[in-house]
Symmetry: C2
Subunit: 157 residues, 2 copies
């Protein structure tokens, strides 16, 4: 007889599992979005910009949960392609990121390909499971911030 209602210890590495699934899922989305000349990371950036007139780099990075310097690099190809403009911001320090018409057009073109990738994933995993996964991922991110932000073992003053 097993002891009831005892939570089994967590086995293995959460980060490893996350990275594993993320690799495969990213490949799936990328293979679809490639038809529009985009990667899923780029599609995500454009999607965020579609909903916002203008943002500073730091604000953009915070919303994407992405390192600021990573965002700078990731915007490079989008700027080169003429989809995004990075101009002077309110401050002399700040810079404003904005979506250009061509960028919106590419996003519109890519959208049905993203939709198909997502539909195939929904079918493969089951809608219930995907919904549960979304909830768990969102919740985990929130709790992660609440508990671990500015508690990292950088230096004990």
């Amino acid at each position: 007889m097993n002891p009831p209602s005892v939570t089994p210890p967590v086995r293995g590495c959460t980060c490893f599992r996350l990275r594993q699934l993320t690799r495969r899922v990213t490949q799936h989305y990328d293979s679809h979005l490639a038809r529009a000349g985009l990667r899923v990371t780029q599609y995500g950036l454009l999607s965020m910009l579609v909903r916002t007139d203008s943002m500073s780099l730091s604000e953009f990075a915070a919303r994407m949960e992405m390192d600021r310097t990573t965002l700078t690099r990731n915007l490079g190809p989008l700027e080169t392609a003429g989809w995004v403009s990075v101009t002077a911001g309110k401050d002399a320090r700040s810079r404003a990121v904005r979506l250009i018409a061509a960028g919106r057009a590419v996003w519109e073109t890519a959208k049905p390909h993203w939709r198909q990738a997502q539909d195939e994933l929904n079918a493969a995993l089951g809608t219930d499971r995907v919904a549960a996964l979304h909830g768990l991922l969102d919740d985990s991110l929130t709790r992660f911030h609440l508990a671990l932000d500015s508690t990292e073992p950088s230096a004990a003053p």
Copy 2:
């Protein structure tokens, strides 16, 4: 009155959420493993090698759910550090990957740091939630393979 037991449509992008959380969680693990001079990806590779005497590159890549060429690149730093050896395999084509004593030593050193990173995550999210996340991630990966492998839109012959 809301219609009962109707699964709400899935909102947003699964891949985006996965990548978001993976970024943050990876940073967390990396900050701990840095004390042992490792990244979580490298720790994962060493962990797999600890349980296996010898493997071909392709077999290793398959077990890691990692692209073969990605694995080749990721093994570079580990070889340079003298933690892993890549020698001739059974075949003249194949190559055997093996963990060296120094590699095992580093892994042993890193293990408590990984443990702490995992414990902090467990505390931040709650053990139940982490267990649920593991189950969902594992299950999703399996179902992903069953449904989407060799069904990718590469080319319609």
